[in-house]
């Protein structure tokens, strides 16, 4: 089991809460203000968070690109919750698991077949797939599990 500080878990929660409520990641400055931490302290927690979850920060700009299942940039996986469309999932796997952050709510995912571009629609609630279009759909994992950390967008 990986040991993680309470502070790192607090930072992770701040990031996830921001994604849930705004659709976007907070800035480092925002995290500093929320928790009363220094920039160095926040940056130190980023390494811990990456050890326990799928997390990607641009080192030079400190911009948070993603904390699974949420992406901070537009992706092919557009998420709508109870009719409100403001989230992007990291990938197809994240799109299929993002419902956990919206208990009791209808989560819809709009995507497209990466080969032909045909529209794909999924609907989930509390872990149950309640609708899909087209009916035959498959998922493709392009990166071995051991390399997920190194190649998040490709996975």
């Amino acid at each position: 089991m990986v040991a993680v500080t309470h502070t790192a878990r607090q930072v992770r929660k701040v990031i996830l809460d921001a994604f849930v409520h705004t659709g976007q990641a907070p800035t480092v400055r925002g995290i500093m203000a929320a928790l009363g931490l220094s920039r160095a302290a926040v940056r130190a927690t980023f390494r811990e968070i990456a050890a326990i979850d799928t997390f990607w920060v641009e080192p030079e700009t400190e911009q948070i690109h993603l904390l699974a299942p949420f992406a901070n940039t537009k992706t092919p996986y557009i998420v709508t919750v109870e009719g409100v469309r403001k989230w992007y999932a990291v990938c197809g796997l994240a799109a299929l698991g993002i419902w956990a952050f919206f208990p009791g709510q209808t989560v819809q995912v709009a995507a497209a077949c990466r080969d032909c571009g045909e529209a794909i629609r999924l609907q989930c609630q509390d872990g149950q797939l309640t609708a899909r279009s087209p009916a035959p759909l498959i998922a493709h994992l392009g990166v071995p599990v051991a390399r997920w950390r190194d190649d998040v967008p490709g996975a």
Binding site: D53, P134, L141
Partner: protein
């Protein structure tokens, strides 16, 4: 993980993207993996199953065996 209309579409995409040859899952398998990995993510104490040792036995239960699915 990407979504496709069928395995034929996934393989056609692979043919156009060198180095992305991979494994295909049914949507049900993918949902099971997504649920296993993601259902506890909102929890304060969450740690990804790859880091807890829980991953290997889970993927084996889905019939996903081989080096491709191992976390190390």
């Amino acid at each position: 993980m990407q979504l496709f209309r069928s395995e034929a579409h996934a393989r056609a995409w692979e043919a156009q993207h060198a180095g992305r040859e991979g494994e295909v899952l049914t949507l049900e398998q993918a949902l099971a993996v997504a649920t296993f990995v993601g259902k506890d993510r909102p929890q304060f104490t969450y740690t990804h199953p790859r880091a807890t040792g829980a991953w290997e036995s889970f993927v084996q239960s889905l019939g996903l065996t081989g080096a491709w699915w191992q976390p190390q």
